[in-house]
C-alpha cells in the first residue's frame, strides 16, 4: 500500500513544484514555528524548575502541528491531544491558558469564547470521536464548519479510533483525522504498535481516503490538510492523514528515552529539523535573514514571558471553587460537601 510521503520542501530547503502559498504566508507559518519552539523550550525549562506539573514536549513536530492548524478557518474546530500546544495556540487558544493548564489548573481549559478548540485530551484515543460528533452537529445545523482531530500513532490502537473512523466514514461527517506518527508511543516504536505498513493504510478498512505526508514539511502538511478540509467542507467526507515526524524530546518531562531508543535515531531526525528547511527556503527567496530570525526569537521570548506571567498571576482555585463547575448549578450533594470542606478543612 505504501507510497512515498508527500513532500514539497526537501530537508535542504529546496521546493518541489510550485509555490503552494504566498511567500508572506510561508513567513507567517515559519514565525509561528519559531514561537512554538520557543514556548516548548520555555515549558520544558519551567517543568524542570517545578513550575509545571507535567509537560509533553513537541520539539520536532512543529511543522506537523502548524501546517495542519493553519489549514483551518476560524469557524472550524480543533480537537487535539496533550502534545499539540503549537496547533492549539495557532487556532487562538492562548499560550497563557496552555501554561496555566500545565501548572495544574483547570482554568487552562477555558478557551476564550469563539475559539473552537477543546481542552487537550489527556487520555489517548477517546477524543477523536468528539471531532466526529462536532462535525456531524455542524452539518446538522447547516453550517460548513469542519472538525480536525490530532492524535498520535499510539492512539490508533485504541478501539475508539476505530469507532471514530467508522462513524465518520459511514455518516460522511466533515472530519479530518490528523495523525502525527512521531515514531514512538512512550517506549513503543510504531513498528510494534501496528503491523500495517503505514497508519494511512488504516483508512482502507473504513472506505476512507488515507495518505502519508512528510510531517516535517510544513508546506506539504498544510497542502494535504487544506485539501482534506475542503473535501470535508464540500460534504465529501473524512480523510485520514498520517504525518511522518519525530518526537525529539522525551515523552514527558519525567520520561527517560535513554531506556528505549538509540540516540543516533534522534540525531538522524534532528537533521530533518522542520524549522531549518523552511528557514533555508525563505532565505533562498530573500524573505528571511539573520535579523528576521533574531527579531522573531526575541518577540517569541517576550510573548512567552508575558504568557508565563499571565498564567502565574492566577491564584489557585479555592476550596469552594472545586465544586462549582461540575454542573451548571451544584447539586445539593455538592453543596453539602462544600459545607463540609468549609467546616473541617482538609
Amino acid at each position: 500500500m505504501s507510497a512515498e510521503p508527500q513532500q514539497l520542501l526537501a530537508p535542504d530547503g529546496t521546493l518541489h513544484g510550485d509555490l503552494p502559498l504566498p511567500l508572506g504566508e510561508i513567513s507567517r507559518l515559519y514565525r509561528a514555528m519559531v514561537v512554538a519552539r520557543v514556548f516548548d523550550g520555555k515549558c520544558s525549562a519551567m517543568q524542570r524548575q517545578g513550575r509545571l506539573a507535567t509537560y509533553a514536549p513537541y520539539e520536532g513536530q512543529e511543522a506537523a502541528q502548524i501546517g495542519a492548524a493553519s489549514a483551518l478557518e476560524a469557524s472550524d474546530w480543533l480537537v487535539a491531544s496533550y502534545r499539540d500546544a503549537a496547533a492549539m495556540a495557532l487556532r487562538g487558544y492562548p499560550w497563557s491558558n496552555l501554561i496555566l493548564g500545565r501548572t495544574g489548573d483547570e482554568r487552562g481549559g477555558h478557551a476564550p469564547e469563539g475559539v473552537r478548540v477543546l481542552p487537550p485530551s489527556i487520555t489517548v484515543g477517546g477524543h477523536m470521536i468528539h471531532a466526529v460528533g462536532i462535525a456531524w452537529a455542524e452539518r446538522l445545523k447547516g453550517t460548513d464548519a469542519v472538525a480536525l482531530t490530532m492524535f498520535g500513532d499510539g492512539a490508533t490502537s485504541e478501539g475508539d479510533f476505530h469507532e471514530a473512523m467508522n462513524f465518520a466514514a459511514v455518516f460522511a461527517t466533515p472530519t479530518v483525522f490528523f495523525c502525527q506518527n512521531n515514531g514512538w508511543a512512550i517506549s513503543l516504536p510504531t513498528s510494534r504498535q501496528t503491523a500495517a505498513e503505514t497508519i494511512a493504510d488504516k483508512a482502507v478498512g473504513y472506505g476512507m481516503t488515507g495518505l502519508v505526508v512528510d510531517g516535517n514539511d510544513v508546506l506539504a502538511v498544510h497542502e494535504a490538510v487544506r485539501r482534506a478540509v475542503s473535501t470535508a467542507r464540500a460534504g465529501e467526507g473524512p480523510t485520514l492523514i498520517e504525518a511522518l515526524t519525530y518526537r525529539i524530546g522525551p515523552h514527558t518531562t519525567t520520561d527517560d528515552p535513554g531506556r528505549y531508543r538509540d540516540p543516533a535515531e534522534v540525531e538522524s531526525w534532528r537533521e530533518r529539523d522542520p524549522l531549518r528547511r523552511v528557514r533555508r527556503f525563505l532565505e533562498t527567496q530573500g524573505a528571511w535573514d539573520e535579523d528576521a530570525q533574531a527579531a522573531a526569537e526575541h518577540d517569541a521570548g517576550l510573548e512567552a514571558e508575558a504568557a508565563v506571567a499571565a498564567a502565574e498571576m492566577v491564584a489557585a482555585l479555592d476550596g469552594d471553587e472545586i465544586f462549582s463547575a461540575m454542573y451548571a448549578v451544584p447539586t445539593i450533594h455538592l453543596e453539602e460537601q462544600r459545607a463540609r470542606l468549609r467546616r473541617d478543612g482538609r
Binding site: 445545523k141 469507532e163 462513524f167
Partner: protein, 324 residues
C-alpha cells in the same frame, strides 16, 4: 390526558423533544425498527433519518459522537440497547461526558441524555437484565434518573433533555408495558431530584426506584392488611437524590428498608443507608435493611426468580425491621 404505557409515554416525550432541531436521537436500531422495545416507533418517519439515526454497533462511538454533538451545541439523546452493553461506553461517560464542564470551567458542556433500558424480571438473555446504576451514581458530573410510572417517564425524560448537564436516563424494562396510566398531553417536566411519595405510612419507610417501586407498593398493601403501616418512597432520581424526603420519613418511622435489583455490595442502597444513619441515627429503632440483588450475575431465565427482590422478600425485611 392520554392513557399510556411507560413505553408510549417515552415515545411521546421523544416526539415532543424532537420538535427542537437541536435534539437528535441516535443508537442501534432506533430508526428502522423503532428500537428493540419500540420506544422510538414512528419517530424516524416523523422526524427523518438525519434526526433519528441508526448507528453502527459501537456504544463508545454512539456516546462519544453524542458528546461531540452536545459540545457543539446540540441536545442529543443517545440510546444504548441494554444496560449490559453500556460498559464499552463507560470511558466516554467517565472521562469526557461527566467532565468537560469542569475541564473547561463551563466553556464547553455536554447536555446529552443517555437512555438505557435496564433491570431484570423478564427472563432475558445474559447481559439483558442488568442494573448497574450504582456505577453511574458514583461518576462525578452526571445526573441519574429512573422513572417508574408513565407520567414520570415522560416528565423526567423531558426534564433530562432540558437539563444543561448530562443525564443517564434508566428505563425499567419490566415496566415498559406493565402499567398504563393517564399522562398529560403536550410538554411538561418532572423535576430531577424530587422523590415521590407512593404511599404514606407510619411504621416503616421503604425506599425504592424503578421496577422495585411496584414490588414495594405491593408489599405495603399486603402488610397493611396485617396492621403494619408502610410508607413507600419512589426516589425517581438517584443523582441528585432527595435526602430530605427520605430522612424526614425515617425520622418519623424510625425504620427503613431499601430496595434495589442491583448487586448488594456498593449498590446505591448502601449510599442511602449511610446517609440516613448520618442524619437520623438517633431516630433509628432497628438496623436499616437492604433488599437487593445478590453479588452474582443475574441468573438466566430459569433461576432469575431467586435473584430479583419480590414483594415477599420486601415484606420479610419490613417485618424484621419491625422486630429489630
Amino acid at each position: 390526558m392520554a392513557d399510556l404505557t411507560v413505553a408510549r409515554a417515552l415515545t411521546d416525550a421523544l416526539d415532543i423533544a424532537l420538535a427542537d432541531p437541536a435534539v437528535v436521537l441516535l443508537g442501534e436500531d432506533v430508526g428502522a425498527t423503532g428500537g428493540v422495545f419500540r420506544v422510538s416507533d414512528g419517530l424516524r418517519e416523523a422526524h427523518g433519518p438525519d434526526r433519528v439515526i441508526d448507528t453502527p454497533v459501537a456504544e463508545s462511538g454512539i456516546v462519544g459522537a453524542a458528546f461531540g454533538m452536545a459540545v457543539a451545541g446540540m441536545r442529543p439523546i443517545a440510546e444504548i440497547q441494554f444496560m449490559g452493553f453500556s460498559y464499552p461506553a463507560l470511558d466516554q461517560v467517565i472521562n469526557h461526558v461527566g467532565r468537560v464542564r469542569n475541564r473547561s470551567r463551563h466553556r464547553f458542556t455536554a447536555p446529552l441524555v443517555i437512555r438505557i433500558p435496564y433491570g431484570a424480571g423478564i427472563g432475558a438473555a445474559e447481559h439483558h437484565s442488568e442494573s448497574a446504576e450504582a456505577i453511574y451514581t458514583h461518576i462525578p458530573g452526571l445526573k441519574v434518573v429512573v422513572p417508574s410510572t408513565p407520567h414520570d417517564a415522560k416528565g423526567l425524560l423531558l426534564a433530562a433533555v432540558a437539563d444543561d448537564d448530562p443525564v443517564i436516563f434508566l428505563e425499567p424494562i419490566r415496566l415498559y408495558r406493565a402499567v398504563r396510566a393517564e399522562v398529560p398531553e403536550g410538554p411538561f417536566t418532572v423535576p430531577i431530584g424530587a422523590a415521590r411519595l407512593v404511599v404514606g405510612g407510619e411504621d416503616v419507610t421503604v425506599v425504592a426506584y424503578g421496577a422495585m417501586v411496584r414490588e414495594a407498593e405491593a408489599a405495603a398493601a399486603e402488610l397493611a392488611a396485617s396492621g403494619t403501616s408502610v410508607e413507600v418512597i419512589d426516589l425517581r432520581s438517584l443523582v441528585p437524590w432527595d435526602v430530605e424526603a427520605v430522612v424526614e420519613s425515617v425520622r418519623r418511622t424510625g425504620r427503613a428498608v431499601i430496595v434495589h435489583e442491583a448487586p448488594r455490595t456498593t449498590g446505591f442502597g448502601a449510599e442511602i443507608v449511610a446517609t440516613i444513619q448520618e442524619h437520623a441515627l438517633y431516630s433509628l429503632r432497628a438496623p436499616i435493611e437492604r433488599v437487593t440483588g445478590w453479588d452474582t450475575v443475574v441468573p438466566l431465565r430459569r433461576a432469575e426468580h431467586h435473584y430479583v427482590p419480590t414483594r415477599a422478600a420486601i415484606a420479610a425485611a419490613v417485618v424484621r425491621a419491625m422486630e429489630g
